[in-house]
Symmetry: D2
Subunit: 410 residues, 4 copies
């Protein structure tokens, strides 16, 4: 039995200094195995192959979000926004748990093993289970997480164009990758937050911090999240897991942990059963990577080669373009691959054609509002002194091809 003595109440964070855990409920949620699992899931998946410092975890991000949320609530209360202790606690829990449903290499997983079930859905399932365990104390947090609470600004703090989630992950990812271009001023932004008519707004003088936030986010997308080596590594992982699933369906033996075995050999229903959820709660980066390491010596050549390439960071070549590649060019590459002995089955796994896109500011899904001293509330796109931010609302699409490095077109 664990006793309440010796409880760690302060967490060291290289970014914010000390993070304080405000009360026993939140402490117990952090101690819960469902949450502790996030210690073993990296925030940025395969990106550490490109940025070797990027090994920070979803655990750290979640705790960082809770810290910023406490700060945001304090700022808003100091400005006269009435927020009850119950609401404060709920919004802190909502942000703490918002990513609890992320699996290992989340996006890769969602496109292979738990096909069709988003991490948001799983987060909600975990929160509901925890709510049972904690006797209903998470109900308001769940409402806020689902965006259903009547006080809209609390939902917006958890999920919107300028939510606490983004404020932490942009800053944190910039810090750990060393890509200074994305270092936004989260604490300055939070100091400028306010609430008008139940709408989260940024005070007038925060306009340049918002601009830097949007520009910084865009730069992080191009330099980090959509970095071509990171993208190809993820594609290779998707293909690898798809191959593993295909072999499992055929009944082949794949050495791996029990939790991963469950997801490889069972068709996962769209609505998780409790057993599926519990098994998912034991699945993390370590199951995936240690299996891949063992698969290097598997008899299936495709599985084996993809495994070796990922482990030894021997990635496919990537070609990037502003326009779609024409069919002729693609055929040329495929023919060349055939000539060099790659079968059409191989091509399913070692040739990729896809797109990446980046929209720094999506003014349709939700907006960032500036609040002027004269009472006006204006969308940042209009408030900004020129076309600059408006330009950033246009999504940019890039096309890419991946194929083995040896393939040379004369």
């Amino acid at each position: 039995m664990k006793t309440p003595t010796n409880k760690v109440k302060i967490i060291n964070d290289p970014i914010y200094g000390f993070i304080t855990i405000p009360n026993k409920l939140i402490f117990d949620l952090i101690e819960h195995p469902y949450f502790q699992r996030l210690r073993r899931i990296t925030q940025m998946g395969m990106s550490n192959l490109v940025y070797p410092g990027a090994h920070h975890t979803r655990f750290h991000h979640a705790v960082g979000c809770m810290h910023l949320m406490q700060k945001a609530i304090t700022v808003l209360k100091n400005k006269g926004v009435v927020i009850s202790d119950h609401e404060k606690n709920a919004v802190c829990i909502a942000i703490l748990l918002h990513d609890i449903g992320h699996g290992p290499y989340s996006h890769a997983l969602e496109h292979s093993i738990v096909d069709g079930v988003s991490h948001e859905t799983i987060s909600l399932l975990f929160m509901k289970e925890l709510n049972k365990e904690f006797k209903g104390k998470l109900s308001l947090a769940i409402d806020i997480f689902e965006g259903k609470y009547e006080r809209k600004f609390l939902n917006q703090l958890v999920s919107s164009q300028l939510d606490i989630d983004r404020m932490d992950y942009l800053k944190r990812d910039s810090f750990y990758t060393g890509v200074a271009e994305g270092n936004i001023s989260s604490e300055r932004l939070i100091d400028m937050l306010n609430v008008v008519n139940d709408q989260l707004v940024v005070e007038e003088k925060g306009i340049y911090s918002v601009e830097k936030f949007i520009v910084g986010r865009r730069l992080m997308y191009w330099q980090v999240y959509l970095h071509k080596a990171g993208v190809v590594a993820e594609k290779m992982l998707v293909n690898l897991l798809a191959r593993a699933k295909y072999l499992a369906n055929k009944g082949e033996v794949l050495p791996c942990s029990k939790a991963l075995h469950y997801f490889l050999y069972k068709e996962v229903e769209e609505t998780f059963t409790l057993q599926t959820l519990k098994t998912f709660s034991r699945l993390d980066d370590y199951d995936i990577l240690s299996a891949i390491k063992d698969w290097i010596s598997h008899d299936d050549k495709i599985l084996s080669l993809l495994s070796e390439m990922i482990i030894n960071r021997n990635l496919l070549k990537v070609q990037l373009s502003n326009e779609a590649f024409d069919d002729e060019y693609i055929s040329k590459i495929k023919n060349k691959m055939n000539q060099e002995g790659w079968t059409s089955e191989d091509l399913k796994y070692f040739f990729v054609e896809d797109t990446i896109s980046n929209q720094a500011y999506n003014d349709i899904s939700s907006k960032i509002y500036l609040y002027y001293k004269n009472g006006d509330i204006v969308d940042i796109v209009e408030a900004s002194d020129q076309l600059n931010i408006q330009a950033l609302t246009k999504p940019v699409v890039k096309h890419f091809l991946c194929y083995p490095k040896g393939i040379k077109l004369a």
Copy 2:
């Protein structure tokens, strides 16, 4: 086949900015699977249970060392120290590979699975294997690593009281843990290096940087490396692996990866065979942690409980003291444990009595010398204006006990 195009020549580092890989030999060493393995071995073992930001890897540390070494060589050459390109390359390779023999949770491993074989020994084995593969190009690096090269200062840059290894890891560990007290000024120290009579020295005006280095190192030991929660987690891991080895010896089945299986079920000889080395090169944090996760449901209660405790961060209680605990007190705890149902077999694994110690500056093994304008060369202990540094040469020992949290002495 990998082609030389698209080679990453610059590595992002949150601490130093850009790290440049100076030439193809070093590039190829970094790309080698032996070295890429270090991407999957954390620098600080279980410390991330205490400092959640401390997930940086031995890969990153090794590359950071190479960067600082390049800087040190440039500084020395600018001061007129003659260093050939061959020597520069060799000392960079020596520091790059100095930790290549570290296994996962190195210290835990050395006390359980590869009992008696130090990571330095294994590093040397890897370097010799690589030297064969790279046709003798690593010979001088190996001499320097072994401290056998005739130009002593090059050996000292790789291993001494003020070596590049410490300059990187203190700074890096401080950065990732967020423990600002240990943030030493590596780049200032390097700027002050010089060589006199083949001895690495620090110029006079660097005296305060050296003092800060020694004091910072001591603070990092107490706050981080010897943090009681980290120490107990490592002890628990040692006990867990010892239990696994014990069960393996008895012939029990332990689900785990092939590489870990090899080391659990085979008695490892003091001098690794090539097969042992190759298997070791496939062993990393992922083998250990994913096995532990599966062992939570193992039939052996001791193995299962230790596994669950480590995975869910439910650690033993630690009691610290400046003096040794008296036998009576220890008996009391053990009796209490017996009363609560822990058997004497259990006690081998769930009760720990041990010491930790810290010596900030060891003036016997080697010294840090200051170089004065008038030509004098003085040990920092004597140069420092008072007893301060001398005080730090005295090793400090602390005693500790670990036992289950539920155990209360009336």
Copy 3:
């Protein structure tokens, strides 16, 4: 006589760490009274009234520029650009001295006391004087400063859209003001520089650093350089000095230092005589501010009130607008002022109508070029993935009015 012993060769800089002075010529230039004067001229004029940390001097900026220039030359030489030691020295001197002609509160001065003589002109005069003193050793530096040297990229390093001047001052001003939005990555930018066909270019992968540079520059303009309180303080200083000059012309006695007296009471010719230059070399912030302090008790009410307002940071009110203010509105304010006892003579000094403007990237005067692996050289405006940077080429103009705080329009 000063002897060459004990020469400080390393300068501490909070931004770059240590700055090394590379040789005796540069050391002697830094020691020269003409250059030492820059220690007494703040880089940002009246901005410390808004940003209290902004007390850094033109001395520090100039030395920082020299440091970055050394780094830039090293980077270019490592990439194979041939640069002789003579050229390296010259371009370092050119950047070191590029601001030596700045007077105290430069822009204010140029609009009042040394009307019509730009600081660039005066810098050139100083450089020519120093060239005589140092027996022609500055000739090449002067050519580069004047943009006349045949190797264009050296001139561009000193003066262009992406010159070393901007790289230092944006970073430095961001550091000292605490406005993180302007913290550009000077060292990353420099690492990406190259020279193609005698044109300074930025390598392809530096595109996001360039974008951040342009965006950061724009943010610094709006948040710092054109901050309304800073702008009004400067306007008030212009008016104050104009009043002093007016009174001097009338023959009134104005207590002040000898150097300031010279410029107040003498009509300064467009081409400085040697005497004017020598007197200018003794004029700095201390002459101006200590005079203003004494003028608080001057009989002239306008001079006295403006002096008191500046010293005690009691600034005029500023009103900002995207459009020009209409005449009717302006008349209203002036009438109100008249009603409250301000004469039309007063209005010349206490009412201001003016504009400020900001153009983040001026693609007409000169361009920033990106250099692609395939050999293409492309203007950043076209290279950027969208309208974002193009938007920033449009100058933005804001109109403002200043008048006493007490003036209220019903």
Copy 4:
């Protein structure tokens, strides 16, 4: 008349980000000319001759202290220490104004122009004047400043071995000089503060932060505050001002500002009259430096040469020693100076013999107490694990001589 609109309520600080001015009373104190004067007094006097970044002002330090004090009070209140709003405000005002009596180049002044009147005395005079103006609202602040308030820990926050003053100035001076060795963790220290039996204590786990604070303070003394070039510059300034005062006493004309004239020509009584105080409130760095610049062309050779040397940073040579210099050696230098034409009158100003000393932790004047979980309260000297801190309680004295650079002893 100034209206309350447009009040700046947030101050940018490069160290802490935003500093909030909590209420109108504090805002009005900051706006007061007595306090605004601190904008024109550098925190570190002549140190910018050594560390060119060190131009930060006493204004900025005072405001930074107020910020840290607000944080400290919040931390203590969160730990259950009862502090009324009135007390909070008073302790913030006490720290805000604690340095308001500093004159320009304070220590130099105290040894020349306002001989015998300490800045603490003058601070108290200003606070009493302001208390009249603000109708008694500063009474409690004054009690705390004088150490007379019944709740001792509030006095200790303002003045003790670990007061808010030191926490700000060590951090700030380290930041602006770039001497990273002194970068203490003010915010971590504050997080560890607590109050037991009306005594300010640091919680047990803050022990290493306290150690770093003491060691950092010592390093800042040797590297910055007692840097030999800074020390000699200050000595020269003392001698220069003493010479000016001597000439003034003789009735010679010394061009200077009115405020400086008052202090040069009048014998200042130990207890300032109101007129003296008001004149002092108009005296700042600008009066001193602009006078010195004009004195370069004064007829008195001693005044003129000292002025020229300070302005052009042509300092006396310094010789440092752990022991006192013997009389014979001193005579040798003086004789040599005589031979080279320096008269005995000159020697009073151009030859200095003095000592500097440094005591990192003074355990007699007051102590830093650690607070253990078991309730123990222990002096840091005893709590520290070894002799390290005890060593730092011993004062270290160094002897130095200053004389013209040209003087060479064969």
